[in-house]
């Protein structure tokens, strides 16, 4: 039953200053298998695959590929040995066509006509419709990923590494991807699949290696375990159960109507006629694939982007033309996606970072004068209430881990007792424990009678939190629907996922 191992790692170790990123990691991936590498952020998954792909060299241990020692000095050597990798973030040139982009990534690209033919053949064989003559700028995220995958397939890899490939895909696009991976595995390619999405791993992967703090804690067949068991292995303890109880929708708090804004930058998205109402005690989830106006919507609510009078009304208070400080005083608070550099100043201490938003509501600034003692006390309160692991309020924001800084940033807003809180990607890149704490704090805030808007690309999170759900697609907001009873398929269609199913224009 066990097929020959295509790739085997034996006792791999790697240290960075102050961190043991990998410690004695051993596992193997058999031919024709989809093998999951599962772990929280910071568990050492990225370091491990970087070593396989030749971006980083291991300190200890050895790797074998097809029985041969595998010690690539750079990605080129790794590719030559038969390793291919699809990164989470694409490296494509928007202005070039699909074929040109693929040719750029090849060592010896064949003539254009021949390359186009090979792209068509591979895309047809694997059910990845793609027209080689199209410009990348016109492609959806799912289609861009296909370009990267086809680029890999043309190398005829023995081992294909996929780094969180579904994070940018709609559910329908993800299904299409798995069908392709299965086809590829059936031809004997080994696939190393990195993710923290438990459900897709349980459905699609044949085996799994679970990493925690750089070590292998378990290997299993993910189909034999529940998502909860897998999560417990990943985190090393029971997951906190989210408590949704005790909330009733009350009066309308926030009303957006006819909110339209031009794209603030060349790469930005224009907001088109956004309308929504948010009730007290309610959590409204806004889903969508990245780059469909999420950042712009948050900026339009935080006050970084101002809009026409009457477009943003909080409890009868017209805030359309108001800036961030006025909106905070009125009770409309926000926490942007980018923790370092947007929600917090990396070089400022946590105390100083409270002054970024909490000045007016917490009395940290009076007549323009900063009350440093009050700011420090508030920072300490946030650190204590939100269990932020840090030496103290004098620590620079950049010195905190992602999860801890996120807890601080969310805590800073929640503890100002907002009437409405808007968050974008509240648990992005955060370990499971911190994510659960952040989500619970949002639910608790809603229970206390505030309204919460959660903008996220994580559908599981939106389903877990929100009472109503709407989708943001190319700057347009769909009508909200009650989350209860909504299936993933329906959500996918709301997200405009239909474009993943189109027959390609070949």
């Amino acid at each position: 039953m066990t097929k020959a191992a295509v790739f085997r790692a034996e006792g791999i170790g790697k240290s960075y200053p102050g961190v043991r990123a990998n410690d004695d990691v051993s596992f193997s991936v058999g031919s024709g298998r989809i093998h999951a590498l599962l772990g929280e952020n910071g568990a050492g998954k990225s370091t491990l695959v970087k070593m396989i792909y030749g971006l980083v060299r291991p300190d200890d241990g050895r790797m074998l590929l097809n029985g041969q020692p595998h010690d690539p000095s750079d990605p080129r050597a790794a590719r030559a040995a038969g390793v291919a990798m699809v990164f989470q973030h694409f490296s494509l040139f928007d202005a070039l066509t699909v074929a040109e982009n693929i040719a750029l990534g090849m060592e010896n690209p064949p003539p254009r006509r021949e390359l186009a033919e090979r792209i068509r053949k591979v895309s047809h064989d694997f059910g990845l419709p793609l027209n080689p003559a199209r410009r990348v700028v016109t492609l959806s995220a799912g289609e861009r990923q296909r370009v990267e995958i086809i680029r890999c397939l043309l190398q005829d890899p023995r081992l294909l590494i996929m780094d969180e490939p579904t994070s940018v895909l709609t559910p329908q696009e993800a299904d299409l991807l798995f069908a392709t991976l299965r086809k590829l595995a059936d031809q004997g390619t080994a696939i190393l699949y990195i993710s923290h999405k438990l459900d897709e791993i349980r459905t699609h992967c044949d085996s799994a290696t679970i990493l925690r703090h750089g070590k292998v804690v378990d290997s299993c067949n993910p189909r034999d375990h529940s998502a909860r068991e897998l999560a417990a292995m990943m985190v090393g303890g029971e997951m906190r159960v989210i408590d949704r109880s005790g909330r009733n929708a009350g009066d309308v708090l926030l009303r957006l109507s006819n909110l339209s804004l031009p794209a603030p930058t060349a790469e930005g998205t224009a907001l088109k006629n956004i309308a929504l109402t948010l009730h007290a005690g309610e959590i409204l989830g806004i889903g969508g694939v990245a780059g469909n106006g999420q950042e712009e919507l948050l900026a339009a609510l935080s006050g970084e982007l101002r809009s026409a009078p009457g477009t943003v009304v909080l409890e009868g208070d017209d805030l359309g033309g108001a800036g961030p400080e006025t909106r905070r005083k009125a009770g409309l608070l926000a926490a942007p996606e980018d923790r370092l550099g947007h929600a917090a100043v990396p070089d400022f201490s946590l105390t100083e970072n409270t002054l970024l938003t909490a000045g007016p509501r917490k009395g940290l600034v009076r007549n323009g004068l900063i009350d440093n003692a009050a700011a420090r006390r508030f920072a300490q309160d946030v650190i204590r209430e939100f269990d932020v692991r840090t030496p103290g309020p004098h620590t620079a924001a950049r010195a905190l881990s992602g999860g801890n800084l996120q807890k601080f940033v969310i805590g800073r807003e929640v503890m100002q007792a907002p009437r409405v809180l808007v968050v974008n990607q509240p648990t992005w890149g955060v370990d499971a424990g911190a994510a659960a704490a952040v989500r619970q704090s949002l639910l608790d805030l809603a229970r206390s009678g505030a309204g919460v808007i959660v903008i996220s690309q994580d559908l599981d999170e939106l389903i877990e939190l929100s009472d109503r759900f709407c989708a943001l697609n190319e700057g347009r907001l769909s009508d909200p629907r009650p989350t209860e009873g909504l299936t993933l398929d329906e959500i996918g269609l709301m997200l405009g996922g239909a474009h993943g199913m189109e027959v390609a224009q070949i």
Binding site: G303, E304, G323, E325, D338, A343, V345, L369, I370
Partner: protein, 358 residues
Amino acid sequence: MIRLVPRAEASAAWQFATPLLAVLATMLTGGLLFAVMGYDPVAAIRTIFWDPLFGMASSYSRPQLLVKAAPLILIASGLAIGFRAGIWNIGAEGQYIIGGITGAAVALAAYPSEGMWIFPAMVIAGAMGGWAWGMIPALLRNWFGASEILVSLMLVYVAERVAAWMAFGPMKNPEGFGFPGSRNLQQYPAAANPELIAGTGAHWGVVAAAAAVLVTWFLMSRHIRGFHIRAAGLAPRAARFAGVRPGTLVAFCLGLSGAFAGMAGLFEVAGPAGQITDSFGSGYGFTAIIVAFLGRLNPVGILLAGLLLALTYIGGELAQLTLQLPAATVQVFQGMLLFFLLGFDLLTRFRIARRITA
């Protein structure tokens, strides 16, 4: 092999050590340079750094210290605020010249009437002139996205031309026997900026510089606007999130540094310089950039750096007189200071490690 390893956090000790190291390195390399040129390096260094304060001619040169340091500190205090916000006013020299001209214009218009109002009105006019000259790059940046670095710098040369035109044209002294240059304000008591305490060199500009140090220290460390300025320099998006409007900040910083430079120009024209001439610009506006960085953009640091740079000015002149060192010495010295400071600055963010060769 030696290589640089980034530090996790900027080293506080090196923040203080680098300016001192830079001064030391300047002395050493400067001495080496003098030795190569055939001068006694020890005598030259002593003439520049020691004699102005404690040497034979110190009764003349010591007051000069405050006279030279005041405009440097006043201008650098304003510049540092913009530099903290990432707004680069390189044209303080131009704002200084225009401030001198507008301030002098009030005096020349009022001449020969007497009145307590004249000098205060000149100070306000000088500040307004510098402010207006600083607002040109601010508005061009806000409206058209023009680089304030280039615009402010180029406006220096425009200001120099304006000064020459004033000296030869509208402001020319009618009783000046045809020589270019305005009336000498030192001889017009209502408009003069005299030495306040005899023998110290302290004039109103020194008072203004001291006030500027206090005001900017208060602004940057106690006031929310100073906090926003620092945030904008470190993380512009976070500052916008906090409620800072970038355009307003650009106008504030360029306006404030322009006003400070303009005031410095006024105190100079009404005091040590005495008149508007075609060579009124004397490089204070550029040297103040060195002062701002040497002082770590910190008000107290700027105070010390301003005094040090003033010392190199006076010491350099003294060395020209007594040792016949070339006039360019001072500039070489000041250039070396900035060069070494920026070089050693690397050590605040990086540490040196030996590469272990396999």
